[in-house]
Symmetry: C2
Subunit: 433 residues, 2 copies
């Protein structure tokens, strides 16, 4: 446990094994990674106790990373289904899994998840407090909150969402605001209610130094949660959201001073025309700390299709600087997702991240697209399936309505534009152009 | 048949019944609609022979409209399935349906489609030429192309895609370019091949005045097709694409001079960071004529999910000025879509259009979102289903995993953030804040 944190090592000019792996994956110089970890613009969440982690970096100049949420809840405590979701996430190479379990055997679930997962694991410790201590919210103490945090950290969780920005002052300002959906962050609502019921300050804010000491001990990255993230387009970019962002920005350098890596969380629901400005504001206020966004969902009226609304928002956010996208499934706003929902959510967020990486000019990001284009030009179906994000779905679709002609598909048949054009260009048919 | 075209009427200061209907739908003054139709910045595709059309406007200051493609092809000539798609399109209030049939009883199919459809109908007459005349492409004459156009126009088609911009000069320039996917427009490839095989000029360009006379007679809107739209990210915004756009821009005022309304078609496949510039260039070159985009698809590697890749591109395009979005289904690049694909494609494009309308600040565009937010804040499920884009899917999802607590869902159960927060704000539980 005496190992330096990633940030402490970076500040001493040490390139860790994790930095080397990240550099190799990203095609960057390990020294560049080290310098950015030292500056806080890249985080490599890697708990000292997460033995089989395959580390990834989040932040400046790196490929956009994606996260899958899962976990058991009281209404749907099907452990087998949740582990099936983990398998789907790992098969599809997601970089992060957040375990949002809030009911039942959360300790055992987390332990098994960390042991089996090469992806970084995140949690929101406060979700787990009520069940773990078997107390009502009002009876939980600041010490309880810290001890559940230490429990998660000691188990090997790589990053934790801590809603330290919803202070009494921020909450008081929020109470004066005119929101349509007040608080939609689960952790944020619990802290807000706890502060209201007990009269106390936010424990993660009041005891922030102790929080950081726990995180530094295991090298857990703090993901500063946005309790007041907008829950609808109306509430986006309002004083509540931006006021909390300012509070979060003031906590970042305190973490870095203790060599704790930081990620900042962001909206939420937001109209398309506000997204770029929000990315810019976060980067400016937060000293270019990595930005992790949930969505943003760009319209509120599409429950059942929120993987699509958030793919739109996520692609725009990441193109404009967001570093880390949380998936949203078609089940969002309606129920706990099932395994198929998880698959659809993963595909949508991977599309958003990849499309953004091309727009961000991440070196090599378009290589696979160009390979696909070449296969398409040759009407080479096996070549196309090879570079498809989901080869099996592409193959199943193609096979379901057989093409009558070789090297065509059932959409255009022998009127295939590529086939026609290439017959001319390749001199197969008369060309007196 | 002596009725004035919409544009001729507008130029004479006449507000037609169609302009009034459009003004009423959009919440705008009929005079504003008339002025913009006269200027060409709004098109109201409304063939004099499409009796039961419920007209819609496309263009400046109006809600973004969406189009569904369907039609029979040689490999999949299932008329019943295509009419089922028409029903799905009409049930979901799409404003336009393009019949891309290229095989079989196309005349009868089109006749029935126009008779049953309150949505505007578009076609690509050249698709129909080979089958209708039962000739090989090389044997078709310029006169054949014009006569198939007149056939469609006389039947009541409201807008036709005419690839008049791929002239011999543009095609020669394209042949010098370094594309990965040469021509992916079906109509464009046929004209390119016909020009190469016959040595003739593009007939729609050579006889453009005759084309316009036919269109003016029935008041068919010309949708200037982009034969060289990019078929992959690599080819986007290249000399071929922009060269053809310039050619199209030079044809617009000739159409307007003959009182033919114009829509311009655009890409295609395109990286996110190029979309805004493309919208700006089109509006500038094309005298603010309405812009109709297919996609743009923002990554090439997601066959099976191209409703999502194009929802991302379409939302960004429309936010930046595109007026009309063509849907793309999950079957794109793989097969002819089935009815479920059509449904998914419609939902994705409607989300893109709606999200863009909010960003474009179309008056009232966010009203339904705000209504959803209010229902969510009250955890009022019936209220949420009422303002959902697809109420049945939302309801089915919610019902599939029953919530144990009233006014929650299976995702968070009694840890619902809204419920917790509102218990405090509504004074239901102790609040010593």
């Amino acid at each position: 446990m005496n190992k330096l944190t990633q940030m402490a090592a970076a500040k001493q000019g040490i390139i860790t094994k994790e930095m080397e792996i990240v550099a190799n994956k990203e095609g960057l110089d390990p020294r560049t990674i080290m310098e950015r970890v030292a500056a806080g613009t890249i985080a490599i969440p890697a708990n000292k106790n997460h033995r089989n982690l395959d580390p990834n970096g989040v932040g400046q100049g790196l490929k956009t990373k994606v996260n899958v949420n899962l976990g058991v809840s009281r209404d749907c405590a099907n452990y087998e289904m949740e582990f099936k979701k983990v398998e789907v996430a790992l098969e599809n190479d997601v970089e992060a899994i957040m375990d949002l379990s809030n009911y039942g055997k959360t300790y055992d679930f987390r332990e098994k998840l960390i042991a089996m997962s090469s992806a970084m694991i995140g949690t929101v410790p406060i979700y787990d407090a009520i069940g773990y201590f078997d107390k009502d919210l009002i009876d939980l103490t600041a010490k309880d909150f810290l001890s559940i945090l230490e429990l998660h950290a000691s188990q090997g969780v790589d990053f934790v969402t801590i809603h330290a920005g919803i202070t009494r002052k921020v909450a008081a300002d929020f109470r004066k605001s005119e929101r349509l959906t007040n608080i939609v962050s689960r952790g944020g609502s619990l802290l807000f209610a706890w502060m209201a019921m007990t009269g106390n300050e936010n424990p993660f804010y009041e005891y922030y130094d102790e929080v950081l000491d726990i995180l530094a001990k295991y090298d857990v990255t703090i993901s500063l949660g946005d309790a007041l993230r907008p829950g609808c387009l109306h509430d986006a970019t309002d004083p509540g959201q931006i006021g909390e962002l300012i509070e979060l920005s003031l906590l970042i350098e305190r973490a870095w001073a203790k060599n704790v890596q930081v990620i900042v969380e962001g909206p939420g629901h937001m109209a398309i025309d506000e997204i770029a400005a929000n990315m810019k504001i976060q980067k400016r206020l937060c000293h270019d700390a990595p930005f992790y966004v949930l969505g943003p969902i760009v319209t509120d009226i599409a429950p059942g299709y929120d993987h699509i609304t958030s793919a739109i928002g996520g692609a725009i956010a990441a193109s404009n600087g967001a570093d880390f996208l949380c998936y949203v499934t078609p089940a969002e706003h309606l129920r706990l997702p099932d395994v198929q929902d998880v698959k659809e959510g993963i595909m949508a967020v991977k599309i958003a991240a990849h499309a953004a990486d091309i727009a961000k000019k991440i070196p090599g990001a378009r290589d696979r697209d160009d390979q696909m284009a070449k296969a398409r030009n040759k009407v080479d179906w096996e070549g196309m399936f090879d570079c498809a994000l989901d080869p099996q779905k592409a193959r199943d679709y193609y096979d379901s309505i057989p093409a009558a002609q070789q090297k065509t598909c059932s959409m255009c048949g022998k009127m295939c534009a590529l086939r026609t054009t290439n017959k001319i260009l390749d001199g197969e048919i008369v060309d007196i152009f």
